[in-house]
């Protein structure tokens, strides 16, 4: 009886702050007695065999099926049913379940002879039941089912269906202090008629982490290990999470030490850590901070020069200043454009044939977002440009639109698609054309929630029912993309007219593909060609057969739905609005929207802390509550208050002490991965890893340009397939696949992989792409060094070489002249590059020669700075100089050292 269990209760849920033990459950009843008209649980009311009460199908019978596991996936909840009897998965489709019980060829209830009902004889194993005995004859469960059948097995959806007001769960927070402690949960359902009923025996319970606490099917919670988690209670459509905390040290609550905070973020993090008795790590060193923030914010390794300058800067404000500087760099815009392309699903394969030039749709998508990231356009404005996109401007005819678009594509055009107000390709993807697919994708992208479960059944971990899903998808059926323009006569006439002017030889055999292939050439000739367009169907409902054949004809537009409902909102008639997406967008940016701002804030947080405050970041649901609700609320509210200023969000997080903590753990937080008491080492994302290898192996001159010059950067690849016109990083396809770049198939954040794998290590250790980059070639570190370490030439040879180079320069100049005349840009660029190299060699030859390897420590330092962005420790220095001394040549030694540091864990993780 001396178990010290503190039960806390939030306001509004009744007065409960009491001690409880496993055996002391009865104490609850007395305490709750103050609440009016509260019904005792069915497990007490239905014990007497002569009970007269008639149970309700919604309130008792259906939830009891859930509690007993009857409607689980392996049993009658399976889509095929079991033994000829099917219930809706996880319940809540009362009408279907009732029909399945009371009607059909083999009803499971027998009103005429109640005791012979299958729902009484099967689960008690009186008649053979594959699922075994679920309850005993004459038990309260038996009596609930029996009384319901005896009373006529009634349910009338229109009359009997009620909306649960709320589920009151006590305690609302559990604080454990040692293993084996127990707490009994209690749940009270409140119905519209004011009825309050203890429904504890009818709830489903689960623990989000068995490591911290376990829960029985009757709601008894037992403490296991220290840490924090939630237990989740479900009844009807309510899903209620209850936090469970067990401090990891004795320094919790009032014994918690004083910890410095920089801003509100820190205060909120500490508030949680105080309960856990978890003390944050120390603040990271400048070197650790700089590498981390540079990789996180700009997807780019710092150069040795930058690192040294930062370390030497004596200013106390240098971290904040560096954050501002990085936020202003093109690499920030590029890296966060890549992330937005992930969230929105910029997938070149899904955009096949949406524009006359292959691959250009993905590039347009990227460039359109990039411009806005660089300008720091508010997030809601960017989303508006995507969600409400239409190809034609207000009042524009199809012909005018095609002309405008053609001009963008014409050679040497000054016009840019990114200057258009909106970006239509989000809706044009061919893998998300059906309203269901779009609804699921939209929920991931803009709401950070997963509603696909509700497409077929009640969401097991959230409030969404199939009905909610069906009502939500209505918003997505009126926007269409067509390769050949909208289907109205005016557009089609103009389409034909434009096509006719192109004089493409059309013979009978020619299909749409053949015509499409001719278009890029016509654009090069500065002609106007037809363009695909995104358009919105007229509001009037069309009288047509719905398209119910699923995948079989994915290109056929789905039938429009007249009614729709935003999640958690009221029904609306879509025929009252010109564009069904408008109310959706209004809802998104409404300050009361529970998801929109949070989803983005949480993703930004997740990119800095390895996990989101809600984790996975795109799975905000009732059963998956934030690890720190106050923190997420603060970030989302601030984001809204600052008019969706993304840079505000970055600054608020990055300037916190919490972000700037070291990864090195202390005695209390080594296991922490979800409460932000230290930095968590995490693998570099695919693009960042690829670019980091490039940068670590690049010449000093090249590396210095990489944060501002995005050419050939993996973070500047537009589409999902990494085949980019004009970007040499297109060769990165293999590496990016191996490192799990987002495949952008489903809008789920899980399309990107952050796992480590064998092939990644094989790539870094032995792939020719990495090895050749380490061993030399244009603009590499090895090339820089090879010049430095070149053996001394005797003066005669030197003179000869100067002459040779002089000759080659002369030849090159002639070729350059010729190529300039031919306007061969690509070749010109190449030749000029070669010329620059030769000029540099000449300079080197005539410059005083450096003594190779006099400065082995200097070389070691350089290699450390360009890979791990820090100086080596004395031990490391010694080991490395020994290695260099035993190398076959200084250059080979340097290459070996570079290879080694690239293959350390410290290189490939951000920490």
């Amino acid at each position: 009886m001396s178990i010290r269990t503190l039960l806390l209760t939030l306001g509004g849920l009744g007065a409960a702050c009491l001690l409880a033990t496993a055996r002391d459950n009865s104490a609850r009843g007395d305490d709750q007695a103050a609440a009016p008209q509260e019904l005792l649980p069915v497990s007490q009311r239905f014990v007497p065999s002569d009970v007269a009460e008639e149970p309700s199908f919604q309130r008792h019978v259906s939830p009891l099926f859930g509690r007993l596991g009857c409607n689980g996936r392996a049993c009658h909840g399976s889509f095929q049913g079991r033994g000829g009897f099917r219930l809706s998965l996880f319940g809540y489709d009362f009408k279907a379940d009732h029909e399945s019980l009371a009607k059909g060829d083999k009803p499971r209830v027998s009103v005429d002879s109640p005791l012979d009902s299958l729902i009484l004889v099967k689960p008690t194993n009186e008649e053979l039941h594959e699922g075994g005995e679920r309850y005993k004859k004459e038990s309260w469960e038996y009596n609930v089912f029996r009384r319901w059948v005896e009373a006529g097995a009634k349910f009338d959806a229109a009359k009997d269906m009620q909306k649960l007001v709320r589920l009151e769960v006590t305690p609302s927070e559990i604080l454990f202090s040692k293993s084996g402690e127990t707490v009994q949960m209690k749940a009270v359902a409140v119905w519209p008629d004011g009825t309050r009923e203890d429904v504890t025996p009818l709830c489903r319970f689960q623990s989000n982490s068995d490591q911290v606490s376990k829960i029985t099917e009757l709601g008894l919670v037992t403490a296991t290990e220290p840490g924090d988690t939630h237990i989740v209670i479900s009844y009807d459509n309510a899903v209620v999470p209850v936090p469970v905390i067990r401090p990891v040290s004795d320094k919790f609550g009032e014994k918690y030490p004083q910890v410095a905070t920089f801003n509100k973020v820190d205060e909120l993090v500490i508030e949680k850590l105080r309960k856990l008795g978890m003390i944050p790590s120390e603040v990271a060193s400048d070197a650790e901070f700089f590498r981390r923030v540079s990789l996180d914010l700009t997807g780019t390794l710092p150069t040795p020069t930058e690192v040294e300058a930062f370390l030497a800067d004596p200013s106390s404000q240098k971290r904040a200043a560096k954050i501002d500087e990085l936020l202003a760099s093109p690499a920030y815009a590029a890296w966060w454009t890549t992330k937005l392309c992930d969230y929105t699903g910029n997938n070149d394969r899904a955009l096949n044939n949406t524009m006359p030039v292959q691959g250009s749709s993905s590039q347009i998508w990227y460039d359109w977002i990039y411009k806005r990231m660089a300008d720091n356009t508010p997030y809601d404005k960017i989303v508006e440009g995507i969600v409400l996109a239409k190809s034609r401007k207000e009042g524009q005819t199809y012909a005018e639109y095609c002309q405008e678009m053609s001009e963008i594509y014409h050679p040497d055009s000054e016009k840019k698609f990114a200057d258009r107000d909106n970006m239509p390709f989000y809706w044009a993807r061919n893998n998300l054309r059906q309203p269901e697919e779009r609804a699921i994708g939209f929920a991931y992208t803009f709401l950070g929630i997963r509603i696909q479960c509700a497409q077929c059944h009640k969401h097991p971990f959230d409030q969404w029912s199939k009905d909610d899903f069906d009502a939500f998808k209505g918003f997505f059926s009126r926007v269409q993309f067509s390769q050949n323009g909208a289907r109205d006569k005016e557009t089609q006439d103009q389409y034909k007219e434009i096509l006719a002017k192109l004089e493409i030889p059309v013979d009978a055999r020619m299909g749409g593909n053949d015509i499409r292939r001719a278009l890029p050439e016509k654009l090069k000739q500065k002609m106007t060609v037809p363009f695909g367009e995104l358009f919105v169907m007229a509001p009037a409902p069309q009288n047509r057969r719905p398209n119910n054949n699923g995948n079989q004809n994915r290109n056929r537009p789905p039938a429009a739905q007249a009614k729709a409902r935003i999640l958690g909102g009221e029904d609306m008639n879509l025929n009252d609005v010109a564009d069904a997406r408008t109310p959706l967008m209004d809802w998104l940016r409404n300050k009361d929207n529970p998801y929109f701002a949070k989803a983005f804030a949480n993703r930004v947080w997740a990119s800095y802390f390895n996990v989101g405050i809600v984790q996975p970041p795109d799975d905000m649901s009732l059963a998956n509550p934030p690890s720190n609700k106050a923190l997420l609320d603060h970030l989302a509210a601030g984001f809204i208050e600052h008019n969706f200023d993304m840079k505000w969000l970055h600054r608020e997080i990055l300037n916190s002490r919490t972000y700037q903590l070291t990864w090195q753990p202390n005695a209390t937080n080594a296991k922490d991965e979800r409460n932000f008491s230290r930095a968590v080492p995490r693998r570099l994302p695919a693009e960042v890893a690829y670019d980091a290898v490039q940068m670590a192996t690049a010449s000093d001159a090249k590396a210095a340009t990489m944060r501002s010059d995005l050419k050939n950067r993996a973070i500047a690849i537009a589409g999902a397939s990494a085949q980019n016109q004009g970007n040499r990083a297109g060769n990165a396809g293999f590496a990016l696949t191996v490192f799990g770049r987002s495949i952008r198939e489903s809008n789920c954040d899980c399309d990107r992989s952050m796992e480590a794998s064998l092939l990644q290590t094989v790539f870094l250790q032995n792939d020719n792409q990495v090895l050749s980059q380490i061993s030399g070639g244009r603009d590499t570190f090895a090339e820089d060094l090879s010049k430095k370490f070149r053996p001394k030439l005797d003066p005669n040879n030197k003179a000869q070489e100067v002459t040779n180079i002089g000759r080659e320069v002369a030849k090159l100049q002639v070729r350059i002249e010729r190529v300039t005349k031919d306007e061969n840009k690509e070749q010109l660029e190449r030749l000029q590059g070669r010329l620059a190299e030769l000029t540099k060699s000449l300079d080197d030859l005539t410059a005083p020669e450096a003594e190779p390897m006099e400065d082995a420590p200097g070389l070691v330092k350089q290699v450390y700075l360009r890979t791990l962005s820090r100086y080596p420790s004395p031990d490391e220095m010694k080991r490395c100089t020994d290695y260099l001394a035993s190398a076959s040549s200084p250059l080979e030694g340097a290459k070996g050292l570079l290879w080694t540091l690239i293959n350390t864990k410290e290189f490939i993780v951000n920490h």
Binding site: T737, F739, A756, S757, L759, R879, L901, T904, K905
Partner: protein
């Protein structure tokens, strides 16, 4: 690598490369020893999956209809195989001589007529859905066999690359892509396996020693982090592979006995089949091979007759015979399929005519690993427009493929979103394949 364009506009890697002829050496003894003991029972322990990208015409290869009306029939005649009653195209004469080694499935049917969707279906056994990407066979196999696969070899090799996506199972089960196909008699450089950049084994060891000394930043906290533990484990295994003589020898087709290599021919596909044989022999568990170009909308008959059929005929027959010679056919199941068949009715796009996408009726081939060869299962109707009776779905064949490999296709994984997913949701094993 050359790029070819399929009709729906997606660029696809050209899976076929032609190389020069040369001679090679035989496999060293330890290579053979290493794989001994891994073969047990009737169940296959390894697999070779051959993807005929583009969708091969069933009516001109394995399901001829000589009596069909002229606008369906096509230019080719059937020939007898070495199994009475089993006939295939006259342009597959070598395969006809080893009909006893494979089972032919006719009247396989589905409804996905786009390359992308069809390919995902036949590479995973699941109809694609937008909310999730299904893992390919090799990926599932790799996951299921991760504990028994040799540590110094990549468990799953794709020659030159694969349509089998890692999907929700994650990139750690993805194949090693060779990136190109071997040339006959020449050493074959595979990214990640071969040493390059002038680095010697001795230098690799020196670097590894240095790495072991320097990679200590996280010492002490590694056990708390799955990532750091994993990186250490992978580093060890990568080192084992890179320094493994067995691995290098296995990829080096020039080490093969010229007599054994000869039937595989000089083309990239045949050489890929030879490589797959060597890899399986040395302990790699799953190989995929791709042969593209089957998207014959235009000159269907010329392309098949002069290029595709001879290539497939040579490579696949050599593979089946070669596996059999090495005693590996019983333990290696071979599965050959395209993403769909082609329209029975000949189109008029070119003078000789072509055939378009047609998923309603197609063929698949399966051999080895307990599959009973020399039989035809299923049947298409008179014009090869649909299965005559019930037909098979790609899911049924997939379930059977897993069955041969000792994997229960009804086993469930959980997707990243926590959703339970069966390995093959709608498939039923075809028992006749094995009896």
């Amino acid at each position: 690598m050359a790029i070819s364009l399929t009709c729906d506009g997606a660029t696809r890697r050209d899976f076929l490369k032609v190389g020069a002829v040369g001679a090679g050496l035989s496999l060293s003894g330890f290579l053979r020893m290493a794989s001994a003991g891994e073969v047990k029972g009737a169940k296959a322990t390894s697999a070779i999956f051959i993807n005929l990208n583009g969708g091969p015409s069933h009516m001109d290869t394995f399901d001829l209809k000589p009596d069909a009306p002229a606008e369906f029939r096509g230019a080719f005649n059937p020939i007898k195989t070495n199994v009475p009653g089993m006939e295939i195209s006259e342009h597959l004469p070598k395969l006809a001589q080893c009909g006893d080694k494979f089972a032919l499935l006719r009247g396989v049917t589905h409804t996905l007529g786009a390359h992308e969707l069809g390919t995902e279906y036949v590479n995973s056994g699941n109809r694609p859905i937008p909310s999730l990407e299904y893992p390919g066979y090799g990926v599932v196999f790799t996951k299921e066999n991760q504990d028994t696969a040799p540590k110094d070899l990549p468990p799953f090799v794709a020659i030159p690359n694969s349509s089998q996506r890692a999907g929700f199972l994650g990139v750690q089960y993805a194949p090693l892509n060779t990136g190109s196909t071997p040339r006959p008699g020449q050493p074959f450089n595979v990214r990640g396996i071969s040493l390059s950049g002038g680095v010697t084994i001795e230098e690799v060891e020196r670097r590894q020693n240095l790495l072991a000394d320097l990679d200590k930043t996280f010492a002490g906290v590694e056990k708390e982090s799955q990532l750091l533990t994993g990186l250490d484990r992978f580093s060890e295994q990568a080192h084992a592979i890179i320094t493994s003589r067995r691995a290098r020898e296995a990829f080096d087709v020039s080490k093969e006995n010229p007599k054994f290599a000869e039937p595989f021919g000089a083309e990239g596909f045949g050489q890929s089949c030879l490589l797959a044989t060597r890899l399986i022999e040395s302990g790699v568990r799953f190989c995929s091979i791709s042969l593209g170009g089957w998207d014959t909308h235009g000159t269907n008959f010329t392309t098949l007759k002069t290029r595709l059929c001879p290539t497939l005929d040579t490579g696949l027959s050599a593979l089946l015979n070669g596996l059999s010679q090495k005693g590996l056919l019983e333990s290696t199941v071979v599965f050959v399929t395209g993403e769909f068949g082609r329209t029975p009715k000949i189109n008029q796009r070119s003078a000789e005519g072509g055939r378009d996408h047609y998923p309603r009726c197609m063929f698949m081939v399966m051999a080895g690993g307990g599959v009973k060869g020399g039989q035809v299962l299923g049947e298409s109707d008179d014009k090869a427009t649909m299965p005559k009776n019930e037909g098979f779905s790609p899911a049924d064949v997939a379930a059977s493929f897993y069955q041969a490999l000792g994997i229960d296709h009804t086993k469930e994984y959980h997707s990243n979103t926590g959703r339970p997913i069966m390995i093959v949701r709608d498939g039923n094993v075809i028992p006749k394949l094995f009896s």
